[in-house]
Symmetry: D2
Subunit: 291 residues, 4 copies
């Protein structure tokens, strides 16, 4: 069933919901789902409404035109999604395929509603898996390894190429599905709020490299994973979703890696789903997630 | 901060939220929290709105008077709670005190906002604990044990006395905190939607007696507890909340009982809190819980 | 690292561990992992020991020969697995592929250590997925649908064919990965303790058909899945593993199905891993799981 | 049922379990429970065995005498507990009583098997609660607040007084049940492995002050608590147990504090139980927990 999803954030005051729901009701729109949140600490208001498209007498452009005056009155930042227009997800991956394979399965089975125009990797390892799904695979080598080689020659060009491929593919969302490279700040800023990463720890614990090794050393009793928006500030972007599993003293680092793979793929799939359904709104360095 | 909590259920149609939020906005009311749910399988709509009392130009009675025409138009079943009027909770208990002690602690620490005018028990065992909290303790013996003695002479009188004590105390909610007696159907009907029970299993598994023994026999790997509204149909009332804990082969029935006590008190406290905050709306044999 | 896994069950008495660990120590065996359980309710003792193969002066057959006298003394039922001999897993599947795809992924990535000689299905739907993995796919039509057609002509022949294929493939374990047919009692008995099923509910709740619909109707707040050994008594075999996810009133049956798929594949993979590692010992209608 | 609990750690080699279980079997001892762990990363071996006291022909002292040669041969660090000798727990508390009330309830109900000779606090706030349980309450003022006043005059004397009270009470375990003072390093060293703290975050996240405020600011989706042994290195001692609860954007800091109280008391009670049952063995900066 085709739906329009209206997402709004604005300074909190009285009358916002009355205005928006009044607007929809006046045009006969049937609301399937609605959620709101007023953040007392920031004074911001957040709203998400899902309307059955066929109950409105206009299309998405008509909606946008007519809604503009309401939005202006309340100083809204807002957008309207049309579920008939699937978001285009470009996946970046390195050599580990557990997140990629999971996303591809969910996409193939219809569980994740999106298009995946291409996968980009700094290795050629996962080409056959991707191509079996009928998806284009771009191998873009990134010189210099990870953090250490941040100023390596050729690195800038590689990320320019990635940005070009993303734009060419009409990408809406970039998903770092265990992509072991640190994105340049410029790229983070340019696609702010559109790049999702899965970090293999329960942030802010064990930011940086080799989190499972860190977790093992510290002797924690639970390990986790974090799906977050990527910002120029490494591993510090707004958190979308986290989850954990219990471990014990008998689990070696290899066991943590294995258990972690399951958490990572689950958390990333959940975060991406919510992003695709416009359920995630940034609120400073935090997120509002209407689930 | 004093708040009014408006809870509504009515046949689903367009314009409900617009009407209610319009009504509140027109009077300058500041909405702290709002949640809604349209049940596609029953065609019912559910709404809960929390408004800061001071932002409205009228008291609760004024609110009720003015809201009546809106309610009538949409055939609403509705009620308005005033957080300054604390609900009165009467606890029924037998001899096990883990749920009782937990509720009393949460009440004493301000974690559960309610009044507890009295505790009623078919034993005198827990008198000192209750009275230490400055709460009245009524010992009402119920002849005939549990299920078996349903027609025992004196049983009817005992429950009539309990109903009298409940009414005399101005009870809003009756909580069966491991009260090992089956309530007569008449009582269940009379206080429909106002009696909460904690069942010591993950319903519908192991309804009836000795659920932990049943769980042990079946060899399940998780045990749970269920907080539900009491109806004349034993252990089949609408479920408010459930939770589980993992067990393994090394746990004896005694261990299950011990682990279960922790689940029971947590689940009951959570269910009661939500009921006190008007977050639970019955929807046929199910519930809508706005958390 | 090659290991021998010794699994023992016998009547409980003093000296069992001393005898077994003495036997291993006397031959210089290095124990990597050991776990034991004495069941007070049945008087049975359970033991699992993992020994590094290279530390013993004999191979698996030598181990078996020399261990026999110890086993006889304590009336042990026992077996010895050699991790160099991978168990052979035959998967039965119908049309839904979430469990199958997950198992294949885990097998392909080395996460599940086993061989998968073939997949058998009553439909031809999933052939290409299976064959892409280089695994044989057998389409064995089973007349008569599920429960209803238990006496349908041709049904017996179909299951005879399945048993033949299983034996021909040298199957050690049969996994019903959402295989929507009820196995004949004869087959259940013949492969007792070697057939794993994933049931899409938190058993014993919602046994039988359409468990998510039942869960929705009952209004539970958690849904689950159960991995169990198949016995002739439908959905009543010994439980190996269970898990749950939280749901709420806004989840439709379709949402339950989607959430359930994630639980099912996780629980089945976990149960199968433990079975493959000889961590699951039957104890009457229950299991001992050494994790 | 009286039991002896033998706990052992030593360099890993072959024959340890054979020797210990042989020793017990030779004297006719009935093992109720046994667990072991060889840590490949440190080369240490850990063992815990629970024996029914009456099945042995000697008392705890006899056990110790006869076991000494075995222990010496394997360079064991070991101890033997007698469940008839209850451990003595001294609780330190400040003004918040959720952990204290929970521990007292569990002690009173027999759920925690220990003696509680006294409670020590830097405030007089919780005297009546403690004394109602028939437990001595010592008010020892600690000058200078928390971290800031670490060198405040009188502080040293206060902690000397606390140590004196602990020793006078025959304390085995000191529990910091939300005791908001930092213990001097000397005290930490003196009672190494015998002081348990509950930290109100999922360590290593949010060490230090006001963890719930930190968690709110960071926008995490799960909050937790950590029970750990206290060392001179603040919040960095070996972790015994952790747990978490899910939160969302609508939870204010006050909500986090409320939810956190439930996690804290659960995690502390669990950690303390395991410590009392000799289930926790230190392994460098980590722990082995035999549950």
């Amino acid at each position: 069933m085709r739906r329009y999803i209206l997402t709004v954030t604005c300074p909190d005051r009285t009358g916002i919901v009355a205005a928006v729901s009044g607007f929809i009701a006046d045009h006969g729109g049937w609301v399937l789902e609605a959620a709101q949140h007023g953040d007392l600490s920031t004074g911001r208001f957040f709203l998400r409404i899902e309307v059955i498209a066929d109950t409105l007498p206009f299309g998405p452009d008509g909606f946008r035109d007519r809604f503009e005056p309401v939005a202006r009155e309340f100083e809204m930042t807002w957008w309207l999604s049309d579920t008939d227009v699937r978001k285009r997800v470009v996946i970046l991956v390195s050599q580990e395929d557990h997140c990629l394979a999971d996303l591809l399965y969910r996409w193939r089975s219809g569980d994740l509603e999106c298009d995946i125009p291409c996968v980009i990797s700094n290795h050629d390892t996962l080409r056959s898996l991707v191509e079996w799904h009928g998806i284009a695979y771009h191998h873009v080598q990134v010189p210099g390894g990870s953090a250490a080689g941040a100023r390596e020659p050729g690195r800038e060009e590689a990320f320019a190429e990635i940005a070009r491929l993303f734009d060419e593919a009409g990408g809406d969302v970039m998903v770092l599905a265990r992509y072991m490279q640190i994105l340049p700040a410029g790229l983070c800023d340019r696609y702010r709020g559109r790049i999702l990463n899965i970090h293999h720890s329960f942030l802010p614990s064990f930011a940086g490299a080799r989190p499972y090794h860190q977790a093992f050393e510290r002797g924690v009793k639970l390990i986790g994973a974090t799906c977050h928006y990527v910002t120029a500030d490494l591993d510090a972007g707004p958190i979308i979703e986290q989850d954990i599993r219990r471990i014990d003293h008998s689990d070696t680092v290899d066991e943590l890696l294995r258990i972690g793979r399951d958490i990572e793929r689950t958390v990333l799939a959940r975060g991406l789903r919510w992003h695709l359904e416009d359920r995630v709104l940034e609120n400073g360095g935090r997120t509002v997630v209407f689930t």
